[in-house]
């Protein structure tokens, strides 16, 4: 039971990290494109 909870939390953490990385990529890509478009 304890292991399952820890496993679940780890999985959630991985998913959160993936989402964080994705939004960071989105911000960097959109930022770079905006700078190049407007410069």
């Amino acid at each position: 039971m304890k292991m399952a909870v820890i496993g679940g939390l780890l999985e959630m953490n991985t998913a959160t990290n993936t989402a964080v990385l994705f939004f960071l990529q989105l911000a960097v890509i959109l930022g770079a494109c905006a700078i190049m478009r407007l410069s």
Partner: protein
Amino acid sequence: MIRIGQAPVIGEMIAGVLLGPSLLGAVAPETSQWLFPSASKPTLYAIASLGLTLYMFIVGMEFRTELFAKRIFAALSISLAGIVAPFLLGIFLAIWLQKEGGFFSASLSTPVASIFIGAALSITAFPMLARIIVENGLSGSLSGTIALAAGSIDDVVAWMLLAVVLGAVSGNPMVIVLVFVGAILYVAVCLLLIKPLIRFLRARVKKEAEFFSLMLLLLALGACFTDLVGLYSVFGAFFLGLVVPRDGLAEQFTAKIGPLTSAILLPFFFTYSGLNTCIGLLNSPWLWVVCLVVVALAIMGKLFACYGAARLSGIPHADSLTIASLMNARGLMELILLNIGLQAGIITPTLFTIMVLMAVATTLMATPLFRLARRLSASNC
């Protein structure tokens, strides 16, 4: 980019290259690896594909078939010149590059390499061409009509050639057969079933949001089928866009999905493409000479050939230059084709980088040349 008279797409193409190993990866390799780890590439590719599919759907919807029919002969002769000349130059280039080595997969035959290079040189930045024409109010003009029609023919032929290359690379003639049979089947289904179905759904489904989701479902199915037969989802989306009724529906869809696609999804494609582009691979003066030769041949094959064909068709000098300057830009379409070639293992990352630089150079030329042609046209008037 807008300030210096360039199309925004150029800024995005360069931004993609800068985010890849050419700048970010070279200056801060650890940050680059952390920000764009190899494991995230499939996600980037999936989002990039969605962006391309929606974008090509919009391009298909913006295509004006009535203009195409009006100037068919002039358009055919210009598009033929825009295919034959790059093709002949492509044969020369492929033979030369294969002799030098390091540009193609070792097992690739010369004819297949020639067809790929021919297709890559003959492609036109059709969506960009359409945008420049519309933004400058040339949609109904002689040069605008012919450039749109010729550009679309060239792109269709280039994609068919790519299908042949992919079939040949797979080593299975059935793959080529599958591509062509799949293409014919898809076109027939779109014209005979999907087109009436869209009209039927439009009459029956009252809620706009529901109708919109059904259209996106059709798009997803079309993209899936064309990918499955090896024709690529960009074709499926483009052709589905062509059969959308032009009675306000196409404009409605474009207004809905256009801004989101251009602002969020397409930059992912530019980045994905940029991650595969490494200018550092051109690490010798010789490779830069090869790059210059590729750019020069690309310009000769398209700009000069299309200008010559337009003049021979009796089109005035300024209009011929307008058409040729628009046909010469490779833009996003070239990047799509190159990424497919790289993924299929046809070209090496070095040739990929050289061809990306060629696409950037020819796209950079488009607006200044176009403006020069318009000034010439105005002074003649």
